[in-house]
Subunit: 340 residues, 2 copies
Amino acid sequence: MPTSKDVARLAGVSQSTVSYVMSGRRPISEKTRKRVEDAMAQLAFQPNAGARALASRRSQVIGLAIPFVPDLHMGSIMEFISVIAATARQSDYDILLVTDDEGPQGLERVVGQQLVDGLIIMQVEGDDARVPVIRKLPVPSVLIGIPEDSKGLECIDADFELAGAMCVEELAQLGHETVTLVDWQDAVVRRHVNYVKRFHRGVDKAAAATGTKVIKVPGRVTIAGMEKAVTKALKETNGIPAFIAPEAANQDLLVEALHNLGLVLGEDASVVVNCSDRIAERQRIPLTTIGFEPDEVSRRAVHRIVRDLTDTTSRAHEALELIRPVLKRRKSTIRLRPQR
Amino acid sequence: MPTSKDVARLAGVSQSTVSYVMSGRRPISEKTRKRVEDAMAQLAFQPNAGARALASRRSQVIGLAIPFVPDLHMGSIMEFISVIAATARQSDYDILLVTDDEGPQGLERVVGQQLVDGLIIMQVEGDDARVPVIRKLPVPSVLIGIPEDSKGLECIDADFELAGAMCVEELAQLGHETVTLVDWQDAVVRRHVNYVKRFHRGVDKAAAATGTKVIKVPGRVTIAGMEKAVTKALKETNGIPAFIAPEAANQDLLVEALHNLGLVLGEDASVVVNCSDRIAERQRIPLTTIGFEPDEVSRRAVHRIVRDLTDTTSRAHEALELIRPVLKRRKSTIRLRPQR
DNA sequence: TTGGATTGTCGATGCGTATCGACGATGCGC
DNA sequence: GCGCATCGTCGATACGCATCGACAATCCAA
């Protein structure tokens, strides 16, 4: 493997000049730069990452803490990872995976070894064991999700409260006076306390503001359970029923349950779900969705950690950033009264 | 951050002794080792990865080339990644992501910069653009999937041929004389030529061996299309129909289509699909599956690359390793004649 | 008891890059 | 034409660890 010294020799300059050509931290004449760049190209030179990290004390690598995977819909996690890695590359960073089975010490390790310059922590939950560890680490981190106590931390998440409100407002505006919220599954509700609570708050506020009645039924795992829950909700509803299913895992069950009960989406019932556009569009009846914009969240997370690593000036960017969800109207909702 | 020199000073030994304690490449007396280890613990010492890589010429990092994501079922990709990362840690390696949007040059970059010691390439397809690049790289790599010309490469994949054969044999043994293969979607068939072909070969061989008639219908994207395909297949079948759906994306459609046509799985029809056990078990009627064992494939891939990186002796481990699929009998298949 | 092998430790050096201070060359205003 | 700032380049050094050769101490066999 060629080194910068080889490049220097071939270009007839000193090694430090080669370094300055790469970094641009000192002015270099056009002539010299050209010679060096030609030499680099000719040798197919690539700077050695280890040496670079050692000398500069920065690895140009960001650690990405990925969640343990038992969640049903991990397709979305993959979307995050993919976008995060691609976005990081645009700022000349690479992504190193930190899995959960090393526990929070995994974070201490990669930071301690100076393998990474900063961290992005995915799927942060209410009382996340990683949070206290992160607070002590001497590198910046950005959390995706919001822990119970977010003071002093940089957090990014979808605006679940707004999402909840938007769902209710949309349905209310369509003319529904009663809506049923098919909740997250119990296991999730207990764990991810945080964003579920926020979604509920949004729903409740919008319900109060619009005078909508909200029925909450717990999330189900089986189709039979879902049919029972839907049936119960139907009894309490006058007129055309409306459903909100923020957890993607519930969506299939809800749609199927309604189908089995003889209700046609967009005619006999309104449904708003959260799932990827690709999936929503493929349904027999394309679903109206409230999108949590994982791509946008991912991009913002990378941009923020990169900024932390670049602007050495303004430390402590404490801030909580909420990404606005997007409502996409498709065929699964029905207008009961003329648009205001 | 403490360095090995700090540890040495505190322990009253030389820096090289500290290094030998860590690597074990020279004998160290019990007493000295204890003193050094205590000093390390006291200072919470962690060796600097950059310095280590520079001096030892190995980064202890494996590059993982992840596929571009437009595939529907990317949940499974996440499973691979997760297991790969965890397994790598067990051998003291970390995982660096290499996304596809840098193109094959991404691989050249991470290797050229000596960021990684080796590569695992996921989702290798018939004429994968990364393959020619990999052949030229001066580090070992392990492919998951099999390219057209696999000579001289280390490849691991599920044994699709065996899987195809197992599906047909299972259904034949249950007493079905005609089975319908719901094929991969056209786009996939054209791209991933390789494993689709292998699956077909297995199906054909087993069909010939068992005297089973096989109807092939193309994979569908819509429920209407699937219903039509199923109807057509039913016409050509005498008695209880049987279906094989190796592509996970087709499974929901197939199950729903059969349901809509009034056929009950395990009573009026047999169905064998490929999807994760978790999902298969959750269906209203738990599905008999042919599992492609992504965890096992992932683990083997890591073990092989680690071996390549460790055994510097025996180079060129060219080998094609096929992981045996697993058939799990559930409720979606029906026995038509007593077991032999 | 002595020679040679083995064990345990140290000092010195190199890995490839970034960066600092130094210094000659050039341009500017007066 | 002079001093002075700016530009462009070089040499030297540091970064933290692994590794090699050297060497003192210990052990065993003859």
